[in-house]
């Protein structure tokens, strides 16, 4: 009778605590694989003992110490050398004092250590993403493989290699020092944003799984903001939440892409917008907003406009100017040209865009040509619009995007 609720309790403890317990076990055992095994042993022990003895008052500390005990025990059983008895003796006093290394603060540090280790720049970018999703988010190898349309064995190999490198090259399990933090945090945020975009803008694969990736990235972003409230972490979370607030309006019922200006704004998620705006304000209050915070601020201006025509384009152009000073790139210039076209008219935007295209960096960038086609269309320069849309069409590989450009092309060719 009583077994059922306890079963559920253990499941919910697994849900909420397993990643924290794993992160701490990696620190204590110094090895990813040993820690994973210990985590499973600890939960197996919980399934046996909790129904009999009751749920411990601090389940997390119980699981950490059970996992550690099991790992030491397993190591002892594997090798009966005397050398290991030393290890046991050293471990014993610590084992009794479980609360000391499973308290909230050190557990939070362990979660951060895990994130920074999985996103260490010495690991291949693909491996950083895979490792983060598996170790920090708890996704299975198969789930990650499905989400990235990669064969599971390939992905498993990637994870095995990354873990071997962490062990053999001795990538430290630590939160970077203050001096290294900005650079290392940037790498972590890049991984999180990559996961988000994979879920947000992918045109193929299972829709549901992909949405899960965005949700996973947002969850990860929340963990980061909670543990390390740096302005750029807040900025990235804001950016993801604000993009995600438009999810329902982004595609028509038949799966076609709907551009921002044509979206049904009543479908936008108001709670997410409120959260995003709040985070943008926090990030900007630091005084020196970074690229994520600025992009989030731009998304917030769109989100707060009741209709496309009511968008504050002057504010958006100003934010793109700020972004150009912080993180200049041809793509940012392209977006700024679009904002200028909206503020000052298509002719002004086109002049900026053509100067940008003349520089050559965006010659093969599909959206640059799509934007040019659209501006020419608005100016009535049908032939020019046609040329640009055709060029964009040749460069695009995304199915819904291709259909959207084809529709525009059909309009100007009429």
């Amino acid at each position: 009778m009583a077994a059922e609720p306890i079963q559920q309790t253990i499941e919910s403890v697994y849900e909420s605590e397993s990643r924290r317990v794993l992160a701490t076990l990696i620190r204590l055992l110094g090895d990813f694989d040993a820690a994973e095994e210990a985590l499973h042993d600890a939960f197996r022990a919980a399934l046996e003992q909790w129904p009999r003895d009751g749920v411990p008052s601090n389940p997390r500390a119980w699981l950490v110490s059970a996992g550690r005990f099991k790992a030491i025990d397993a190591a002892r059983r594997r090798t009966r050398f005397d050398a290991l008895d030393d290890m046991g003796e050293k471990a014993e006093p610590v084992f009794i004092d479980t609360a000391a290394w499973a308290d909230d603060e050190s557990v939070d540090d362990d979660r951060l250590r895990l994130v920074f280790t999985c996103c260490h720049p010495a690991l291949a970018p693909d491996a950083q993403v895979a490792l983060t999703l598996r170790e920090v988010c708890g996704l299975t190898t198969e789930e990650i493989a499905r989400a990235f349309l990669t064969p599971a064995p390939t992905l498993a190999q990637r994870i095995v290699r990354a873990k071997a490198k962490i062990r053999d090259a001795r990538i430290p399990y630590e939160v970077p020092s203050r001096a290294d933090l900005p650079e290392r945090l940037e790498a972590v945020l890049r991984v999180v944003y990559l996961v988000f975009n994979e879920g947000y803008s992918a045109s193929s694969g299972e829709q549901v799984t992909r949405h899960d990736l965005s949700a996973e990235a947002i969850r990860l972003g929340r963990v980061l903001v909670e543990l390390l409230p740096e302005p750029e972490a807040q900025g990235l979370l804001a950016l993801m939440v604000l993009h995600d607030s438009r999810r329902a309006a982004r595609t028509s019922p038949d799966g076609e892409l709907v551009l921002l200006e044509d979206q049904d704004r009543s479908l936008w998620n108001r709670d997410q917008i409120a959260e995003g705006v709040r985070l943008v304000e926090q990030a900007f209050s630091s005084g020196a907003p970074g690229p994520y915070a600025i992009q989030a601020a731009i998304a917030a201006v769109h989100a707060e406009a009741p209709a496309a025509a009511a968008t504050d384009w002057n504010e958006i152009v100003g934010l793109y100017d700020l972004l150009m000073r912080t993180a200049p790139s041809p793509i940012v210039e392209l977006n700024r040209a679009v904002a200028m076209a909206m503020r000052d008219g298509p002719a002004a935007g086109l002049a900026v865009l053509d100067r940008l295209l003349d520089r050559g960096e965006l010659r093969d960038y599909r959206l640059a040509h799509a934007v040019r086609g659209e501006l020419c269309r608005r100016l009535g320069r049908t032939a020019d619009a046609q040329v640009s849309f055709e060029r964009a069409l040749k460069l695009t590989r995304q199915e819904p995007e291709r259909r959207l450009i084809e529709r525009r092309l059909a309009e100007v060719s009429k």
Binding site: H120, I171, E174
Partner: protein, 110 residues
């Protein structure tokens, strides 16, 4: 743990960093107690390859690597972890001209 930092440079950059600067940086690492050994190498056209096959010593000229960068020198350092090794490697002067490959040393099995 020991790491071997292999310095790679394009042939025309072999002397881009003055010898005196390399010597000074080596001296600093030695004073910090992290340097086990470090040497610069003659250009790759002085290299000879030795193989032993079926008990016979085969000697050939080269290698003449296809890659543009060639091994120009090495630093064997003793670092706490990869982060420290990377930090040391970033201070090796030719790192700004070519690249430094950081490889953990494998202890031989007894």
């Amino acid at each position: 743990m020991k790491y071997l930092c292999l310095v790679y440079l394009e042939p025309d950059k072999l002397h881009a960093v003055p010898d005196s600067e390399c010597a000074m940086s080596g001296q600093r690492l030695r004073e910090r107690g992290v340097l086990v050994a470090a040497e610069a190498l003659q250009p790759i056209d002085t290299a000879t390859t030795v193989r032993v096959r079926a008990g016979k010593v085969l000697v050939t000229d080269g290698p003449f690597a296809e890659t543009k960068e060639q091994l120009a020198g090495f630093y064997l350092v003793d670092a706490h972890d990869l982060n420290e090794a990377i930090q040391i490697a970033s201070k090796i002067p030719p790192a700004r001209e070519g690249s430094v490959e950081v490889r953990p040393v494998r202890e031989l099995e007894p």
